[in-house]
Symmetry: C2
Subunit: 144 residues, 2 copies
């Protein structure tokens, strides 16, 4: 949930740097990945369909799979969910889902494993960490 907002030129640069030809669809999807927290394909679709009425989910899938390939985004699942979620690929972090309010937080991890990227002699190229529990806010507001 970086919430970063970039203009079109900056978005273009990101894509070109990663070897992806910009298009309005790709730029807009990238923009959402940078702004929104952890959108699913449907989230992205609903966010863009007004602005780009011809947009199809196929294009979103194509684009996201391209982003995965090029290392621009990464995919993960919320436990028990049947849909993939995507996020802009930056520093490794954990996801925390509050089972009360449903909000998903990004959590920094300082454990050795995630810094050294190695465990028991196994080289780690990718790490996904998912927590479920009750967030601070919900613990304090005792209204059930």
């Amino acid at each position: 949930m970086s919430g970063k907002v970039l203009n079109m030129d900056e978005l273009k640069k990101i894509l070109i740097n990663k070897g992806v030809k910009p298009s309005i669809q790709r730029l807009k999807i990238l923009e959402i990945l940078l702004k929104k927290g952890h959108p699913s394909v449907d989230d992205i679709y609903r966010a863009l369909i007004d602005e780009i009425p011809t947009l199809s989910k196929t294009t979103i899938y194509n684009t996201l799979n391209l982003f995965l390939e090029k290392g621009i985004a990464q995919a993960f699942t919320i436990a028990g969910d049947n849909e993939l979620r995507y996020e802009y690929l930056n520093s490794p972090h954990a996801h925390f889902k509050c089972t009360k309010c449903g909000k998903i937080y990004d959590i920094e991890l300082n454990c050795d494993v995630f810094i050294k990227k190695e465990i028991n002699g196994f080289r780690i190229n990718k790490a996904l960490v998912y927590f479920e529990g009750i967030c601070n806010e919900c613990q304090n507001s005792k209204i059930s």
Copy 2:
């Protein structure tokens, strides 16, 4: 991948303790969860169809969802996979998938977060950790 092997009476006890009425299907599925590493529904189906020729996948889904409810098993996904995997619910640990040999390992985690079950004041009820990389064995055998 506990590899534990229990007899039918011991399996029965586990189910009854968790409030699940034993049946041959449920016992056999539990047995597989205790023996096998991280089976998918299809893994379980193929493991049992010879022994129980009338077995249907619906029953496996029913049983596993019951196990999830009762805290007997937990579900997770391997990144990029479209099918759920299940495992007997015991001490929290990480999964490590070697992208070369495809093997899935269980990894013990000693980080604070996983022991204290608390981070930044957020109470953690559930933790899923997934690593991807190259396992020791594959690093040593340089045959690509």
